[in-house]
């Protein structure tokens, strides 16, 4: 094991030191040099001039989540289909049947979600 491997990473270490130093310097300088006269108004939370009306996190129906997840699955399927379609001439029958197998397994999943009622909105 030689140290030359680590030497190659020296610029990154220097970068980290400079970046960290600059960040700490900025915070420290504003803390030490800047004038600070805190009062309750300054310290209170500021959001468009109003007090917050409600929680920013709101509950929503899990159905939206389910649809989004199901969408992702079939979206990914398309993402696999495009490169497959482009190189289909090179990968021949084996490539063709591999994709058919993949689509078959996805279809099983599709039948499952349909029968389970995941696609019913009500």
């Amino acid at each position: 094991m030689s140290d030359s491997f680590l030497i190659e990473y020296l610029p990154i270490l220097i970068f980290f030191v400079i970046a960290g130093g600059a960040a700490i310097a900025a915070v420290a300088m504003s803390y030490m040099v800047g004038q600070q006269n805190p009062d309750p108004e300054k310290n209170s939370q500021y959001e468009c001039g109003f007090e917050a009306f409600a929680e920013s996190r709101s509950k929503f129906d899990v159905k939206f989540y389910l649809v989004a997840i199901l969408f992702i699955i079939f979206d990914l399927e398309i993402a696999f289909l495009f490169p497959w379609a482009i190189v289909l001439g090179d990968i021949g029958m084996f490539g063709f049947w591999s994709m058919v197998l993949f689509l078959g397994i996805l279809t099983v999943g599709f039948v499952y979600e349909w029968k389970k009622g995941a696609l019913d909105w009500e």
């Binding site: 491997f5 990968i91 029958m93 084996f94 397994i105 099983v108 499952y112 029968k115």
Partner: protein, 481 residues
Amino acid sequence: MIDLALDGYMSALPEIFLALSGLVFLIAGVFRGNSGTTFLCYSAAFAFVFSLILLAGVNTGEAFSDLFIMDDFARYIKVIILLGAIASVVYAASFLKDEQIFRFEYPVLMIFAVVGMMVMVSANDLLTVYLGLELSSLSLYVLAAIHRESIKSSEAGLKYFVLGAISSGFILFGCSLIYGFAGATNFDDISVLLSGDNSLNIGVIFGMVFILSGLAFKISAVPFHMWTPDVYEGAPTSVTAFFAIVPKIAAIALIIRILFEVFPSMSEQWQQVVVFISVASMAIGAFGAIAQKNIKRLMAYSSIGNMGYALIGVAAATQNGVYSVLVYVTIYMVMTVGVFGIIMCMRKRGYAAESISDLSGLSKNSPVMAYGMAILMFSLSGIPPMAGFFGKFMIFEAAVNAEMYILAVIGVLLSVVAAYYYLRVIKIMFFDEAEDRFDCDIAFSRRAMIAISVILIVAFIFYPNIVFDGAMSASLALFPK
């Protein structure tokens, strides 16, 4: 092209059959609804049995462009995995009926988990490792949370998922480091590349340690054990039994294959890591279990400790060490089957009783169960002539042969500590005041499984060679002459 990619796919026939049967069961289940759960459980058991038969006829060799390897090591581990899976799914059939958890996805998920583990064991490429690991892990996450109405079960599933995802991230990061520095993902290629002069590349060592940490999570070895007690306690007992019996065997087999086939040239580096993990697991397993009141949490710490013992054999880094690990996990699997069968029998007035004190006075209420549990506890604590003694003995012998005396001594001392809480269970059953009786309508299938487990543990001393011969040929497969 087709010949190149499908070469030797017959080697994967048991996995292909199981995967297809999983898909068929999924469709059958969704059309029949949850009322078919029990039927599907037994169908899954038959699928496992059939897969076992296929496994016996499969030829050794590499398949799918060397992504997949079938050798005696993989065959031995797969046999144990399938036997454990059969026991778990038979338990599940009666347990789900007791608890009124009817979800036909349960046996289907078990099948997919087992397929994933079998792929893991046969992996000959980092990509195959990840594929198998994720297939089994994702199924296990859902299984842990299968009892949706129970907050604890959901909590167990979520905890397991979040921590499991992190460990998968570790493994992927390790794989990418190894690929980056060694330039290959195939096990054969990596081991050839690493056997040269530049074998001690620091990047590869980093990658190996990351993969090892991720896999240590899967076998719940310290310091990656924190999820185990919570998940074991929260998950439905049949799922806990499955967790304790099967996935750890697959994960430890994968550890052995990666360390001994890919990184044999780095044994000095990984031995330190494995020794630490092993000692820490034994210690946490022994001391952590002492204060437990819940029997499922007790078994969680017990499994942490037992993985520590198994890792002693790995740390020895010899063929003898691998052999002893294989014998150890086999015996551990059989003992766990029996213990969890009895835990599932702990029901009072239709509800599961999970506290250790619920066992008090069991020797008067149902002596047969008490003696069965006593035999299993004696075996777990390693008292001769039960099978558990031979497992521990061979592990320590392997460590001594590899001149790791300190490790062996620590192991023996900590097994004395661990004996305390196993013997405490026996003391509670035989000497404490009798509590309410357990419900006595125990399913025949569960009785049969417990009986088989206890008989195997006691009779091991008469027919040890069945296990020894299999483990010996399996371990020799990893050490080419």
